[in-house]
């Protein structure tokens, strides 16, 4: 468990099921995290482009507009080594080689909250993420456009 008095880690939750995301955010906050929610992949990318860049990301693979894998890549581009956890109904979409030497964790829905929280805590304690400067952002955005499967609404 993290020390709530210290600067809390910021976790970004990405899932179309906002009601469940909100409830999970409540519980994570109680457990000492700072939490933000994105209701689809595009919103997640938009949030990741802003500072402060989250310290960890929990996402579904099957997200609207931009899929979870692309969101993960964008997050890694913004903050190399950022812990990524996929909480998904489509575990078969996970490609182990897609994230290099620091593969994300994959939780298959229904997710056990305590296990997910513990995994998040342990990943954050290992990670030493460094934020990428604004200078690199345009190149990263290009990379995401290529990887994403975004569709116009």
């Amino acid at each position: 468990m993290l020390d709530p008095s210290s600067h809390p880690h910021l976790v970004l939750l990405v899932d179309d099921d906002v009601r469940t995301s909100r409830r999970m955010a409540d519980m994570l906050r109680e457990d000492g995290f700072a939490v933000e929610i994105a209701r689809d992949g595009a919103a997640a990318v938009a949030r990741l482009a802003r500072a402060p860049v989250p310290d960890a990301i929990v996402t579904e693979f099957n997200t609207t507009h931009v899929d979870g894998t692309a969101v993960g890549h964008f997050a890694r581009a913004r903050r190399p080594g950022i812990p990524i956890i996929f909480a998904t109904g489509y575990p078969q979409l996970f490609q182990p080689g897609a994230f290099g030497s620091e593969p994300p964790l994959v939780f298959t829905k229904p997710v056990d909250y305590a296990s997910l929280r513990d995994a998040l805590t342990s990943a954050l304690s290992r990670a030493n993420p460094t934020e990428v400067t604004e200078r690199d952002l345009s190149a990263l955005a290009t990379a995401v456009r290529v990887q994403s499967t975004s569709t116009d609404d």
Partner: protein, 532 residues
């Protein structure tokens, strides 16, 4: 006493004697210097007659023959008229046949020679002149008689030889043709069975042996139907064979089964061809069959594999759709557990309980819709008034539309359209489309229009909304578990598509931001004729 030769007999006939021989020798000595002239004039005359001239190959040959003619003239005045002489003369007749000189030219040519020689003889007025003339006439007629005789013999030989060669050629051609047809029948990878008028097997090819396991000797003369257990469920094959044997085939194609020697059943597609009562052949009907057992088995395996693949895709989609509500329920139960432990507010706990209940309902609804999609009940067709159905559907959705702030209107014809259809299922289709349209229009606070009209052969129902439109024109919106709506099962349009297809109709969509039209076209007339 030795038998008189033909030459001796001829000489006796014309009374050619030693005196003639002596006279001819004397004549020859005197006439010899003129022989080259006679020969030249002879061939000059031939050049004037194209048919005679055509038998020669060229001037070189003519020059050679001219020399031969000189030698021949010398020979007939040679004084020796024995069998060797006869043989040489015979040779001339054979050569004429060989080069194809018509017989009439032999006769007329001899007239030329005769005139030329007699003119020379006429120059002498001595007492021997008449005798020389007679000797010349005798020897020339002997020549002619021998030449004609051998010409005829040689000609007949030649005709016989040609006939014999033609006979041999004909035989070879027949053998070749037979060999070709036998090969075609034996090497063909189709069963070829020839039946006589009584339906008994008279021809049984190699492929038929291979497929049935019978040797042809075992089956020749046996009735086709009983020997091979050839049959099908409704006895079409035996009936068509009977028709075929009578030359009154209704359809050439018929499917049946064969019982092989080992008792296995093979499926065969037969093509029956009536040959009729041909002279000398008792086969009147050919049954040409293709063994389709393996192909059918392959098709069945492919169908099975495709079915399994489709089930796999469905199962993956279903799993995801189950996992999401389970995830929601699970998380809220975790929250409740924590809330109970720390005695949280009743409001929060009630809210979490409600969510769990919702998720369970969502799962139950998913199971119902999935079954509806995966195992649809057969259509219950009745006369359905599309006008009333549209009005009914509009009424049922109006409350939802009002709540969403969406204007719902209907554009319906004055006269009714009645089709044979499953009313409940068509209502489900209309409700699906109308609810989707209301959801879509809700984001813009817009309008939904339900339209019904008639085209010559179809009833057309349009559901139009002015919402943002489909995310992509290529989105597989009719695929199971494709959904762009939060909380949707992704089965609504898949079910819609299935129901409309089952009615023999089509459903299409045209979408752009501000205007999306789902169009259902249902066949008028007897829908049962069009649907499977």
């Amino acid at each position: 006493m030795t038998k008189e030769t033909r030459f001796q007999e001829l000489k006796r006939y014309v009374r050619f004697n030693e005196r003639d021989a002596t006279l001819l020798v004397a004549f020859g000595r005197k006439a010899a210097p003129e022989f080259p002239r006679i020969a030249r004039e002879f061939y000059d005359r031939i050049r004037e007659h194209s048919e005679a001239h055509d038998v020669f190959t060229g001037e070189e040959q003519i020059a050679r023959l001219q020399r031969s003619l000189v030698l021949w003239l010398a020979r007939i005045c040679g004084g020796t008229y024995d069998e060797a002489y006869h043989e040489q003369t015979s040779q001339i007749g054979r050569v004429h046949v060989k080069i194809g000189l018509p017989q009439r030219y032999m006769l007329t040519a001899m007239a030329l020679i005769r005139v030329a020689l007699l003119r020379i003889a006429d120059r002498d007025t001595g007492e021997e002149a008449a005798a020389i003339r007679e000797a010349l006439i005798r020897v020339l007629d002997l020549e002619l008689a021998i030449m004609l005789e051998t010409y005829k013999d040689s000609y007949v030989d030649r005709i016989r030889r040609v006939a014999r060669e033609e006979q041999v050629d004909l035989g070879k051609a027949l053998a070749r043709t037979e060999h070709r047809y036998v090969n075609a029948v034996e090497l063909a990878s189709v069963l070829i069975i020839g039946l006589d008028a009584a339906g008994k097997i008279q021809l049984f090819n190699r492929e038929a042996e291979r497929v049935t396991g019978y040797a042809r000797d075992e089956l020749l003369g046996q009735p086709f139907v009983s020997a091979l257990g050839a049959q099908d469920a409704d006895e079409r094959l035996p009936r068509q064979l009977t028709e075929g044997l009578a030359g009154a085939l209704e359809s050439q194609w018929v499917e049946g089964t064969l019982r092989t020697r080992s008792g296995k059943l093979r499926g065969v597609i037969w093509n029956l061809a009536f040959a009729g009562q041909q002279a000398g052949d008792d086969v009147v009907l050919f049954a040409v069959g293709r063994d389709i057992t393996d192909a059918r088995a392959m098709e069945e395996r492919t169908r099975q594999a495709e079915k399994l693949a489709a089930i796999g895709t469905l199962a993956a989609g279903l799993a995801h759709e189950i996992r999401n509500p389970l995830n929601g329920a699970q998380l809220h139960v975790s929250f409740l557990e924590r809330a109970i432990k720390k005695k949280a507010s009743e409001q929060d706990m009630l809210e979490a309980t409600r969510v769990v209940g919702d998720e369970i309902k969502r799962l139950a609804n998913l199971v119902t819709e999935f079954l509806d999609f995966a195992r649809p009940k057969p259509l219950q067709r009745n006369d359905v008034s599309l006008l009333k159905l549209c009005e009914h559907a509009k009424t049922m959705v109006s409350a939802q539309a009002e709540a969403a702030g969406v204007r719902l209107s209907a554009d319906l014809p004055n006269s009714d359209l009645v089709i044979q259809a499953d009313q409940a299922k068509l209502l489900q289709v209309l409700l699906n489309l109308l609810k989707n349209a209301v959801d879509s229009a809700e984001t813009t606070g817009g309008a939904v229009t339900l339209r019904l009209r008639r085209s010559p052969l179809q009833a057309i129902v349009d559901v139009e909304d002015d919402g943002p439109g489909l995310p992509s024109p290529d989105a597989p919106i009719f695929d199971a578990f494709f959904s762009t709506k939060e909380g949707g099962t992704g089965l609504g349009l898949a079910i819609t598509h299935r129901i409309v297809s089952d009615h023999g109709g089509t459903v299409d969509v045209q979408s752009q931001p501000g205007k999306t039209v789902f169009r259902i076209a249902l066949p008028l007339g007897n829908a049962e004729d069009l649907a499977p």
